[in-house]
Homo-oligomer: 310 residues x 2
Amino acid sequence: MEYIDEIASLKDQISFSGQIEVPDGIDKIVIAGMGGSGIAGKIFQDFYTKKPVTLVNSYEIPEFVDPKTLFVAVSYSGNTEETLYAVKKARDKGAVIRAISSGGSLAELVDDTVIVPEGFQPRSAVGYLTIPLLRGFRLFGKSEVEKTKELLVGEDMHKDPFQKLADGIFSTKRIPVIFGTPGFNSVAYRWKTQFNENAKVLAYSTSFPELNHNDTMALENTYRKEEFYFFVLTHKQMEKEIADRIRITSKLCKIEMKEIEGDGTSLFSNVFTLIHKGDYISYFLAKKRGIDPRNVSIIENLKRELRESN
Amino acid sequence: MEYIDEIASLKDQISFSGQIEVPDGIDKIVIAGMGGSGIAGKIFQDFYTKKPVTLVNSYEIPEFVDPKTLFVAVSYSGNTEETLYAVKKARDKGAVIRAISSGGSLAELVDDTVIVPEGFQPRSAVGYLTIPLLRGFRLFGKSEVEKTKELLVGEDMHKDPFQKLADGIFSTKRIPVIFGTPGFNSVAYRWKTQFNENAKVLAYSTSFPELNHNDTMALENTYRKEEFYFFVLTHKQMEKEIADRIRITSKLCKIEMKEIEGDGTSLFSNVFTLIHKGDYISYFLAKKRGIDPRNVSIIENLKRELRESN
């Protein structure tokens, strides 16, 4: 499969039928995962706040993990060192363990593993990795999937504008900075990581309103301002308060922000359409740079050297 | 008080006697706060994992907030719009509410407010704002305070090296990027925000091992690499695994990381000495740029315009 086809398959991924089984009696949730797999937990956190959700992006798990904790390990390969280590610790503490993976050691270790299709880069499998969490907790309905599917292949997803955006970033070699808004922190972070992994450019994300308490002071006065490209991720249901903050920040700091708007009327459709737009822009930026967007050989080299040093 | 004296007062702030009262029977904690006040919650999260800790950096509170939730609002001024809004919502849901503030509307709204000394910039009061949380949960001992106090005025805190570092960043106008390590995510973020607010330069933070799953791909290959200044925050008790990651990442990506090491042997001493070093570097960078490190008038302008647009 061509890498762009992996990206385009998001429209099919969102109707994936896999779901984690959520037992009764749990009072908190921990989701462990790194990078392109860990994003599933971050997205879940933007959808679900009925119980505390704690993310583990390292080896160590919180002290509070106990038999009333649902511990979900997400690793596309099933062989992520940090996540496997965390699962073993969670098991020692008696947590209820679930996993989402295409196989690997994780699927052997955890009976309740939702198996997702093989053959993707982990970051291109974002739908497969996220849907089982959202579905397990019943956080979307069938009509939202249908509607989002239409949007993902629709006019707004026409690739020309994204190619032009990538060309614009490339022509001035700018560093993307993505401003999220409430409920969309995970998507802003997803964009950052896609610029990193696909286009191999540094990129950063922060979010309104928190950024008004720190970044704003720099945005007004920093050196090298013209070397950054500022995106802001919005949607049609956004609170006026946040829209005001965006407008006033742009004016006071004298910065242009490229607004990218989600499509549809649900959190589900906005999240997945915004993710998709970022995927395309970072893909086209890679192509423009003459870089293979799929290649992440450096992380393989890093893992090998880590093993050798032990 | 001169601004540098505000910064230097951290040595006194860490023995602040204020503490929040932690009731029996709570099973989760929410800490609301923005920017220079919100950092207290982030630091707490690095110290305490016995119960789930959820941070609120916006207006909305999680659905799970209930009478078994300890809800701590941190606002130095006591007038932070987002935080006041969140407190009212938490009260409606019956949460146990505590606050940390120098006064303002928050102290009027919440009976159980730990009152901290007035007259500081919120970000310079980081000790006053954090200690009541750590003390309330008994997360440090008296000897750690004494030891850290010695370290904060000791040889390692000699200001010359920090001034030289700031000169180095300034001479090439570089953008600071701070790499945290496990347990020190909050400190890396604190450094970012201090570069923003004191020196008015853009700055970003990410952390090992998560950054090995995304930033690393960019660090190898990005354009404009030489325009960033990479810090890594370490300590003498760091796991070999993380030290290996730092060394190998630096080698494979061909980047120099300036290592800044915490002092002492406890999390408490390492966190506060590392915070202090970042405070000085960002202060000296402001001075070098001829910028007033205290001035944050833009956020006042932003607040005024926000009010006017309502």
